[in-house]
């Protein structure tokens, strides 16, 4: 959703091996006090501008069931998170049920182990089960790891968004079609 910061020099350096089998759990409101601060801090670490608490609650209060967390089995601390929404989208001539991956982050020392891939797959599965027609997201044109991850799963770049972020960087809109939607060639904004 927002632009990521330039990775700091040490973020990729010390890779840690995984502390055993991670726990993957679905978020729910009763976990807010325990996990919301950790979610915020994990995500804002890589953001160039912070989101207010409302943005997190906007998603989590309405679509907590589309948020998944990867937890450290030893102390249940947060290692990764994906946050989504699923809504009717009606700027098309035929409205579609559109899933949107809003935020995704994995703690830098545990990257490269497939954690984000697993979280995104859980989110896609949950949205597909709820009859999503398509899943979309934006990612910064310079965010190679994120783009590779989504493209590996089947997303295609549908358009480039000029200077989409406040930091002046452009983005790609990525789309994963899940169902055939019969409609004319109207492109959405």
């Amino acid at each position: 959703m927002a632009a990521t910061k330039e990775p700091n020099a040490d973020s990729e350096v010390h890779k840690t091996s995984l502390p055993g089998e991670l726990q993957y759990i679905q978020y729910q409101h009763s976990l807010e006090a325990q996990y919301l601060p950790a979610i915020r801090s994990l995500i804002s670490k890589d953001l160039s501008e912070p989101y207010s608490i409302y943005v997190y609650r906007y998603f989590l209060c309405q679509w907590g069931h589309l948020c998944y967390m990867a937890l450290n089995p030893t102390d249940s601390s947060l290692i990764g998170v994906v946050i989504c929404k699923l809504e009717m989208h009606s700027s098309h001539s035929t409205p579609t049920l559109r899933g949107y991956i809003a935020m995704l982050a994995v703690s830098s020392q545990y990257r490269g182990h497939g954690i984000a891939t697993k979280l995104v797959r859980m989110a896609i599965d949950a949205m597909a089960e709820r009859n999503a027609d398509e899943i979309v997201l934006e990612t910064e044109e310079t965010n190679i790891p994120a783009m590779r991850l989504y493209e590996r799963l089947g997303f295609l770049r549908s358009k480039k968004l000029h200077r989409y972020y406040l930091n002046g960087n452009s983005a790609y809109r990525l789309v994963l079609p899940l169902k055939a939607v019969d409609e004319s060639a109207e492109e959405s904004e």
Partner: protein, 749 residues
């Protein structure tokens, strides 16, 4: 929005109940709802969201958290003062004035690049002091307020003030120009002035006089300043006058030679400014991010954006060079050269700045007078004539004079007017679209496709009415084993543009790195398919155009008042010949690359990602080709047919590579032929150099394709597939942004 009042802080501690505000205003009955609010709130769990259905993601992103220093512009660190405390009345050294001006130049560039005034020029304390009270007259336009009457300004203050006057005034014109033309707020440029004045009330000539007076002040200080410093200051002031002059002249849209004079002057002055940068002493304290707190804005405070002096230099230099070049658009020759001018001008990397792109739009369209002297009818008529109609009687303005409603020329004139009304906006929008940023060009063209699709149907209807009036005799087309057909000029013209738009969207996809490497075989096949479709259409148009004189002769026999279409040499011939050449090289090179990438896929040297979700067919219909789904002609192939033709299964890999090398060689030959065309033949009058550069770059891409296909052929022959890797460059690294040629690289041990 004022969400924080610094004066009331900290009137109460966070734990104490604040006293209710005393509301006594006529007509308002105050009611304390604290208790009710509390009891309602107590039923909610912490973190529960209370919102109505209209509270969107956009609103939640706009929400701010009070007391978070990154969001709350009123949040102060212990001991921090609310406002900057820089004293603008302090005396300035000449070197400091140079330093401040050069910092302002950097900020001006940042603003042109798309950053808001709040993070750029409006971080200057001098500017803030000058404009915060919206000066209504020249005397008030000063950063030093309440100067004792009669006391002269300090000379260095005079220079800096004059510079700021010229700077702000030009910013005003730039901002207004951009607002009048089409661009995308925030994405391209931020026109917000935060309720601050850009001296719109002050007369341009008065400001110019102030700058002249300041230059005089510098001259009078000759004894106190070194020549170098005096010149450095003088050049900086001259830049402001020249820029104001360039803006003023651009409003005239007359003679390109006179319009470019002040731009040339800026170019010379800019070099001197750049060389004298070292004479300046920066004054960082004269700029502050805190000024944002005073601006009318709902945005959280954002960091200052200051390009380096080198970036500022590069961008300013480029703006001036583009300013010199853009006025050449005024030398109109023909509609196709005009289109080529706009296309090649906008294809430059980096793209010209928004202001220059807005100038181009104003030259083109201001007050619906094209280039300041042509009507839309003229330019549309010119284009119809060049592309399909030649000197057809359909375009004769004398038709409008006929008053008898039964007269065929009366009907023709009416139908042609209907067509112009239908087509004019869509046609001009092509030019306007090319003036946008590249991402928007592609997206806007997708929308335009549907418009052209429906226009083609409307045009067919008009064509059939026209052929009736012209008593047109159908011809057998194609000449061998064809069917009786009519020339259909208006729908032919529409189809020609629709096909070009389709090709452009695919080509922009390459340019913007939209396609994954494993999609390239398919997308180049589709480009080739479109180019071949256009080539066939061009051939049809050529056929009917060459016989138009004859067919219209029938009519002139009946109506002696008619001016017979004179020569057998139809005027559209050179254009159609060029279009034939251009479509031929495009399909050749597109085919070559499609085959090359198909071979790479077979060899596993380009691999599709695993893509466990969705299917190829869904991706094809719902994403990649979705914009073309609504197009009836040429119809989008089914995914099955598409996959089959792209894979070329009937052809062996060595054959495929041989075919690719041959097609790329053919493309190269055609491109070299094009490179020999004179500017008139190329329909590149006024932009031949830029056009030729595009042709040369495409030629290099064709040569590289031959090399890649040939060397890969050898690799296959020698069974060394495992010993090579393939690099697919990003478009910016390719010879030509529209031709992504893979590089075959030997693996080293």
């Amino acid at each position: 929005m004022e969400y924080y009042n610094p004066n009331s802080y900290p009137a109460f501690s966070a734990f104490e109940e604040p006293p209710p505000p005393a509301i006594s205003s006529e007509g308002i009955i105050a009611e304390d709802i604290t208790k009710r609010f509390r009891s309602a709130a107590s039923t909610l769990e912490p973190g529960e969201l209370v919102k109505d259905g209209y509270f969107s993601l956009f609103e939640s992103v706009g929400a701010l958290e009070i007391m978070d220093p990154k969001m709350d512009s009123g949040c102060l660190a212990p001991g921090e003062s609310l406002y900057e405390d820089y004293d603008v009345t302090r005396p300035l050294l000449p070197s400091e004035v140079i330093g401040i001006i050069d910092q302002l130049l950097s900020f001006e560039v940042a603003w042109h690049l798309g950053y808001p005034l709040s993070q750029t020029l409006f971080t200057s304390v001098y500017i803030e002091k000058m404009v915060q009270l919206s000066p209504q007259n020249l005397e008030d336009a000063d950063f030093i307020k309440d100067r004792p009457a009669g006391s002269p300004r300090d000379p260095m203050h005079t220079v800096l003030r004059a510079y700021c006057l010229g700077l702000l005034k030009s910013c005003h014109y730039v901002n207004e120009r951009i607002k009048q033309e089409h661009s995308y707020e925030e994405e391209d440029f931020v026109t917000n002035t935060y309720s601050r004045s850009l001296l719109e009330n002050l007369d341009r000539d008065m400001i110019r006089e102030e700058i002249m007076a300041a230059r005089k002040v510098i001259d009078d200080m000759k004894g106190e300043l070194t020549d170098e410093v005096a010149h450095a200051l003088g050049f900086r002031l001259e830049l402001r006058t020249a820029f104001l002059r360039a803006i003023e002249l651009s409003e005239l849209r007359t003679n390109s030679d006179s319009l470019s004079v002040p731009w040339y002057q800026m170019q010379g002055v800019w070099e001197s400014i750049n060389k004298s940068r070292s004479l300046g002493t920066p004054v960082p304290d004269a700029f502050s991010a805190k000024i944002q707190r005073r601006l009318a804005s709902t945005m959280p405070p954002r960091p200052i954006v200051q390009p380096t002096p080198e970036e500022a230099h590069e961008n300013f230099k480029r703006m001036i060079a583009d300013g010199i070049r853009v006025v050449n658009v005024l030398n109109y020759s023909d509609s196709q050269s005009l289109l080529n001018f706009v296309m090649t001008f906008q294809a430059q990397r980096p793209q010209p700045l928004v202001y220059i792109r807005s100038l181009l739009q104003s030259f083109l369209f201001h007050e619906m007078v094209i280039l300041g002297r042509l009507s839309i009818r003229q330019i549309l008529g010119d284009d119809l004539s060049i592309t399909v109609l030649g000197r057809s009687v359909l375009l004769d303005p004398a038709n409008d004079e006929i008053e008898a409603p039964q007269h065929p020329l009366f009907v023709i004139s009416q139908q042609m007017e209907l067509f112009r009304q239908r087509a004019a906006q869509s046609y001009l929008d092509i030019f306007r679209t090319f003036c946008q940023n590249r991402c928007r060009v592609r997206r806007t063209m997708f929308h335009a496709l549907l418009d052209w699709e429906s226009m083609q149907i409307d045009a067919q209807e008009l064509d059939s009415r026209l052929q009736l009036q012209l008593k047109e005799k159908p011809l057998i087309y194609p000449p061998t084993n064809g069917v009786e057909s009519y020339s259909l000029p208006l729908s032919s013209w529409t189809y020609l543009y629709k096909l070009r738009l389709m090709e452009w969207t695919v080509q922009l996809g390459f340019e913007l790195d939209i396609y994954h490497p494993d999609e390239l075989a398919g997308m180049y096949w589709y480009l080739g398919y479109l180019a071949r479709t256009r080539a066939a259409h061009v051939e049809r148009v050529q056929f009917f155009a060459a016989r138009r004189a004859e067919s219209e002769h029938n009519m002139s026999k009946t109506y002696t008042s008619l001016r017979p279409s004179q020569s057998q040499n139809y005027r559209s011939k050179p254009y159609l010949d060029l279009a034939a050449l251009e479509t031929a090289y495009t399909s050749d090179l597109a085919d070559a690359l499609s085959w090359l990438y198909a071979a790479l896929l077979r060899l596993g040297l380009v691999r599709p990602p695993p893509r466990p979700y969705s299917t190829e067919a869904l991706r094809y219909h719902q994403v990649r080709m979705k914009p073309f789904a609504g197009i009836g002609l040429p119809e989008l192939p089914s995914h099955e047919a598409f996959a089959r033709v792209v894979a070329q299964e009937g052809t062996s890999t060595p054959m495929l590579l041989e075919q690719a090398a041959r097609a790329a060689k053919d493309a190269r030959g055609k491109l070299e032929g094009m490179a020999k065309l004179k500017e008139k033949e190329a329909f590149a009058v006024g932009c031949h150099e830029a056009w030729l550069k595009g042709v040369k770059n495409a030629t290099r891409a064709a040569i590289a394709t031959v090399v890649a296909a040939t060397s890969l052929g050898k690799v296959v022959q020698e069974k060394r597939e495992g010993r090579v890797t393939v690099e697919v460059p990003k478009a910016e690294k390719a010879y030509h942004e529209w031709w992504i040629v893979p590089r075959v690289v030997e693996v080293r041990d």
